[in-house]
Symmetry: D2
């Protein structure tokens, strides 16, 4: 199944009869692992087989909830299980590459947390390895599978917004300060994955500024600009030390504009029929000057499908394994996001100096 | 009167008996001029004498409302009137320098719209000229005189927030696209003047990114970072083409944090007793690592004085003329803001490359 | 001009060439009077001639602003001026009847503040007197002329909402405690005038509860229910002593529902495609039971005309004088609102006992 | 443990060492049952033993999640189990009385869903039976145990608000239309239980209006006024057919006022230092008239304990069983709420006619 634009994915998925159960193992049962286990335990067509984690206590928790599961503190047990078809990796970022590589080499399909690796080079190796072993490599860009983001994609692709002007995102709150990755790798990665899906094009340069306020910890407040052709600009504000929670994206086009507020319980997306219009100038002396008109029209908030994004994603992963289709958030999508993060870190270290990105070439 | 921190300005101002009426002329009666005329007509101690504007229609409007005023299409009539003590300049940016310079040289006190000039060099000339002629030179940084911003200044100076981490401001809406100045000079100038007043320190570098989407018009969407010592970071997002109106500033410190939302009718400032705490690590093997604690306490929204900022500013200008005290938003404050804007424009032209600022030296 | 449903009133009004200027006098220049004077001074086709008020200071204010006006502390001067065509009455409620009656008997057209009188009987006498003298009698139901309420009327009349279920209104804040009228007569009168216009039907009974918390002052917190045929229910919550300002009306139908929030700067009206659907029951044993389905669809916020309601109202009043057409908020509309207020006061005095209303008969 | 005012309940509860495990059975595993089972399975000092429900599917669900539980479709199996100490009843309202009575007579402690029964008489019988058998009878007034409501109780009891003026509550959304009870019994019961706890006094009369819009279903939109001594007024607005979700309570006193918005994620309670002040009149002719001053001060949102209300309630129930103390929401509290609902239904049937309540007498 390809997740094409505007498709009402959910009803179809629910109707489909699964053929052949896919057996799943999960490595890492920390913050996000429980959500992954729950969804793969509940969707049709998959069976949760094993979970590994370094913490015996967490393993006890998952065992209590899912008594039929095998649990282990050694991830190699999961990789070595020949009955397991697919591995989900939900461990700290620094372990993603090694675990995903071993899983692919063991012939498993892989769904790995974002960011998929620590460097672009690692990401490319994973993509190549997946190709060689003809296995599905998917990155857990969860937001891409939510009803809200799929609706945005539909609106942008359907040219409802017209020529795109900007993509502006804010993701801040008083959040957990990470130890190994900075706030761009922790928070902006969500928004970069959404932007990558919605815009379907790559920036030619990025510039990032930020600051680290806690001794010994990485940058906790950061701003990232991505430059695209045709004056399209994307910007990301992320912060672990904000007093209020904000999750808001503005997307402006020359015809309509979107406000996406992920904290709104029911009206996450609002489409504004607002903008400017350019007209020829009636004054012959100023014929070269365009007259700007301002247009303020209706606002519209579409009803969104309510299926949990992670559930849609889980079914999509299983589908891609069965059919061989390319996931919407495949390894290359993960790689594109990784390249931006890597360039952003370079810019950050140079006080905001813009860093150019060469076009991504994947063999 | 000096506008010191935390002072409840308003009641005192209202009580004071004016001694000697200051006669005022206004050059420019466009968007902002009517507010200036109204306030100087209403505050005690000043008399509105003359208004000049290029538009006969606008002059008819002001004459209808204030029949005792003299109106003229030639600003030189206002400058030449020997009975006028003070000149207020509310014209397009490109004319600020010439008009302010002529007014100072004619021996008038000057209140000029922001930004005070087009270049730092012009700004410095104005500051020097005012000093030579011993005249008050004040820049119309209106927000600095509002109850909300004075309360923020009080909180920051009183160390309620502790060590400052960041200053983050958003000022966007579907607004009038200017022809001669970009969106930083039009919108961020407000926030830079607030930041200059609240932080009372100068950035050592700035970096700005942005895009121009309308043929023949300046940059309409922009992001500006200001770098300060001790990892203090300020950031500004301004946009003329946003579908919703946002006027929100976050100020984070290690003890408390502020959200300033200028669109809130009554609770413009909220102070959050939130943040992180750093403790020594009980684990001797990790004694060098600080343990991070998260603290979420009460929120508090102080009642703010309701006097219009421009009214407070008008009285302050008159006071400075009478007493010779330095205005809170004096020419040097205007110059500091101008230097940031000028450097931002350079950065913008170089795709976000950071631009260093040498310390401001005023003779 | 008749204000028919859905009509885009504003552009047409602005285009129309006035024929014959109508000369206007205003009695009462307190809280609302300045708005009335301003609008009648600005709309085409009318000329503000005279203002009376008991306060010499207020008269000085209006004279300063409108030097060509005649001012007087004796309202009889205004009534006696034979060049005046129309009288606007913006005085305390207890004087409405006497002033309006004298104005009508002096052959003037009358626009009177709401509520139009203190008793139904007084209201009926005014309506009859206007008819006898063939003069326009209009009540200042300002909200009826706003873009928001006209849009609601259009949606309700166009059956966009389907069968109406309820009309629920809240109008509370820390407001001025009145001395002579209770909070229903002061605040609910706004909402009753809106309801009367939107529903275009009369309740058959009302019930009101409330409390007076301030010694010697009238009821300051009240709740009013209006009962209509076909289970349509209207309810009003008004309060002078609330800590926050709320101006929100919910209107529910079996097809769509409206939320009208008058404090929203731009999206005052939101239309929800939400509700329940009733279906026959497939279970033959329960064939008499309808199955309830729940429907949650899109939300839509229409762009509203921005013309000030009072300006539209002023032009409508002048139009009715010229053409003899009946105003949308004519004396009979004022009378319908008055009857509800009068019955509500009776219910209030009896602890909420419902009071029936006989159908209004106007000769 | 008695839940006294202002006490920081949570930390103490967590520290306490339980002595003797209380064995719990649950009757009814529909909408709310899973939350009850989860909490009693997790709090220290209790053991979930058995669950009964008419639906085999639901029993399978709970068995899968809690493999050690006994499940049965016959509630009598639960009542007959001599090892069970306490029974929780989470079934439809019409079964509450019979089940609670049988459980008490079987010597079990009982926690029953609200409303506790269908009539006041039934409620009184339950209270008497619990007393005779010396068993704890508690009603599941969950909100009373939330951090937000406990903070409100603390503020009201501590006289922070001063003399109380009003209690105004709105609980509306597009919700499940019940078949057997009207919207007051389904939704207002929550707010009545909060009001009963916070005000700690009984109304002397109630008046209710409402309408039933769906054929064959009970009243779905209703308004209820409760009259208290000293002009204290409480009002409740509940609606199953509203387009938006509102959960907001205003509580006004002569010193401070509270806004409690249960949909706010973090600042559920805001305390406003707002109100009026009454002063003697300086004018000797009007010495009997008090002058009204208006006071607008700071707003304050206290940090609230985050423990789930139902968890606090579960621990309180276990504590009362162990110590014999009276629960905060004991049978008599349930009875007080029931009396109001019963009187409201009578008023509703008579079009809003007020119904008096005699003081509750419990032997």
């Amino acid at each position: 199944m390809t997740l094409t634009i505007g498709e009402r994915l959910d009803p179809e998925i629910e109707r489909r009869t699964p053929t052949g159960t896919i057996r799943v193992g999960v490595i890492g049962y920390g913050y996000w692992g429980p959500n992954l286990v729950r969804n793969f335990a509940e969707v049709p067509g998959s069976q949760m087989v094993a979970v590994s984690d370094l913490s015996a206590q967490r393993l006890a928790e998952v065992a209590a909830r899912y008594p039929s599961l095998t649990t282990t503190t050694d991830f190699r047990d999961v990789l070595a299980d020949p009955t397991i078809d697919a591995i989900i990796i939900a461990t700290p970022v620094r372990t993603h590459f090694d675990l995903a590589m071993q899983a692919l080499q063991a012939g498993k399909h892989v769904l790995v947390e974002k960011p998929m690796a620590e460097t672009t080079q690692q990401g490319q190796l994973l993509v190549e390895t997946a190709r060689q072993h003809q296995r599905v490599l998917m990155v857990d860009h969860t937001f891409v599978y939510t009803g809200a983001v799929r609706k945005i994609k539909e609106l942008v692709t359907g040219e409802r917004l017209g020529q795109l002007y900007y993509y502006d995102s804010v993701r801040v709150n008083l959040g957990l300060v990470q130890h190994d990755v900075n706030v761009l790798w922790d928070l902006a990665v969500h928004d970069l994955s959404i932007m990558d899906y919605v815009l379907a094009q790559e920036p030619y340069a990025v510039a990032a500024t930020g600051a680290a306020h806690i001794p010994g910890k990485p940058v906790n407040t950061a701003y990232l600009t991505c430059f695209f052709p045709d004056n399209l600009l994307a910007h990301f504000h992320v912060n672990w030390l904000a007093p209020v929670k904000i999750r808001r994206t503005l997307i402006g086009g020359d015809r309509q504009m979107i406000v996406y507020d992920d904290l709104e319980p029911s009206e996450k997306i609002k489409i504004y029929d607002k903008g400017i219009t350019l007209n020829g100038n009636a004054n012959p002396d100023k014929a070269h000057e365009l007259l700007i008109g301002y247009r303020a029209g209706d606002m519209w908030a579409p009803q969104l499908p309510m299926t949990e994004g992670l559930r849609v994603e889980a079914m999509h992963f299983l589908d891609c394994i069965r059919t061989g289709e390319r996931p919407v958030s495949d390894g290359v999508a993960g790689l594109r996001v990784l390249r931006i993060l890597e360039a952003a870190s370079v810019s950050l270290e140079h006080g905001g100096r813009p860093v150019e990105l060469s076009p991504l070439e994947v063999a």
